[in-house]
Subunit: 203 residues, 4 copies
């Protein structure tokens, strides 16, 4: 079974999710700069969620590029990932409309954590289909980044109850880890396995 | 005539239908866990309808993979299927917003039944184009699952007037039949023809 | 320049337009059959507009299948067609929400006419790029159906001011001409050139 | 890494953005020609923004056609472009709903300028991946049009505070430069390098 349609369907869903979020930027009633001000938290969380969906699309792209064929289990693992990604616009809107109170901020982190776990499940399903000496296996390496991200989401969810800005800061930090990789840090953390990850990311 | 565009167009429509439903999760006015509670029935029916659309996308994917070319009749049978699938978000929202009263719950079942019939029509159009000794013919077998599903939808529609939860339980059960196939049951029900179905599903 | 992206982009836009219309089916406040009744005109016009967009997708599919490459002029002619198609959901909603008064019913016909003209322009741009002895030229023939449709839209627009149901009947009739082709009529109207049209439609 | 998915994902996002804007055409309460009148500014800005998104899709199409492979940096530069394009519907709606006051009209220009800069960044990322003696390098030439557009956006933003219609006129003029290229002007402005641009555009 070819992977073309799985990629096309995932592209479609992620493209719609990204653009659904922009609908939350409600047209201001006034026509001044001041009228834009209340939109700022909505806009900034839009940026963060856009980057998150961009990271998932990017990683999905790389992971599937290293794969030659997909199984029935992979199709469902992929739909499962898309399900949790589909909750990002809702949790983004809930969090930003109320100016980041603890519960919605924690729920946002829980959705991010569920996305990360769903991605891990998809990765596992793909690895099972591809085998241990596949190029996907080599490209993923020890997946230190994925594991650290999951831990950081848990930290962020907890911190949301202590101080909302600390919780948010952790979520932004995880996005930055994926967006702006410091190669030295990465090399320290994952030693030898860092190279294949980097390689797959750059290709 | 190639099947690429038919697949791409169907992927696009199903991707949009899946994401339209998430718009029904209206942002709560409060910022507490209690504020999320009224969303629960909407969320749970979202899960069921997401799974249904996922099943249709999955089966559509498998069926088209076994096909080499499409005819004009197939194009229209496919649009006909997409039309009935497009009513899933509406009937899901009507049913869940009113907490599953008999009429909307029965209408939801009628839409599911119409989807199943439309899928059967598409399957028949494809079989006519492919011929009786095609790999599609072998993959479909006796289509016991499809026939049982149609019967169960009718049962669910009737039960919706007796007890809403029984009606819903039947709809969920049909989704589970497609999602978690018990191979022994399937083998009993369809004897020899079960193998090709399974084969097509696993490939 | 390949035609793949032009097809994919058009598929995306038409898929979204078809599913946007379903959002006009507003969830009824009641949970009875009676609560569904006011939706009937909206539902029926949804069916008509769905069929129209389906016809355009279908014909676009066939026309592009007969083409090997596209020019810059073709790209813009295609965007021009998509622009007029994008007005179908708006004019459908305006007409059906007010129960088919003369002006909105005429405007619906004007949008259908503009779609037909835009399609003709795209066809002309493709023919110019392909040349007169191309398979596209043969497939299109005298385009009697296209010309008759344009005349019928004008008739429908005029009739909308006399009797709304007559205007609507003409729009539905044009859709049926494309949906259920009476081969004898077609053969009479276009004599020799009917065959290539039919051929292209059937392939 | 192939460019297919990047193209498909961009097609999806731009297709959705184009159709989101049509949702701003709110159904009039009346059913007369007079009821349509207040929609005119919304409709005309829809046309302008549709043309702008069409230009970006068109140029994106041409630029990617001249490219053989994409890098990780290109993926992010492309997402960055899509982010700024995603703000076109919002800024279009804000500007047209308030009948073109200075601030929203200037913000519209700023979004157009950001789009132009994001496009330039993507172009630079692609050139770095392709090298200086690539066909992309030749096709882009001196990019006089891109540079002049950026300057004109700045002019339009400034003029929005003097007279809203002058600001808008500049935005429309830039769209026309891309839509209806006067070849003689272009040749004068860019001398030798005009040819490759034209060539790439026509192919």
């Amino acid at each position: 079974m070819g992977k073309g349609r799985l990629e096309a369907f995932s592209d479609g869903v992620i493209a719609i999710l990204i653009t659904i979020m922009v609908l939350e930027l409600k047209i201001p009633h006034g026509d001044t700069i001041a009228a834009l001000a209340p939109l700022l938290p909505v806009f900034l969380t839009y940026v963060v969620s856009f980057v998150y969906l961009g990271i998932y699309w990017n990683n999905h792209h790389h992971m599937l590029a290293a794969v030659s064929r997909v199984s029935g289990a992979v199709l469902w693992a992929n739909l499962h990932l898309l399900f949790w990604l589909s909750l990002i616009p809702f949790s983004t809107a809930w969090m930003s409309e109320h100016r980041f109170p603890p519960i919605p901020t924690a729920v946002y982190g829980i959705v991010l954590l569920a996305d990360a776990i769903a991605y891990l499940i998809l990765q596992t399903a793909l690895l099972r289909a591809e085998g241990d000496d596949s190029s996907l296996r080599a490209a993923i390496g020890s997946d230190a980044k994925g594991k650290i991200s999951a831990l950081l989401y848990c930290l962020g969810i907890g911190l949301a109850f202590v101080n909302r800005w600390l919780g948010l800061a952790v979520y932004v930090a995880v996005a930055l880890i994926w967006l702006v990789p410091d190669r030295r840090v990465e090399r320290h953390l994952t030693t030898g396995s860092a190279k294949p990850i980097e390689q797959a990311r750059r290709e």
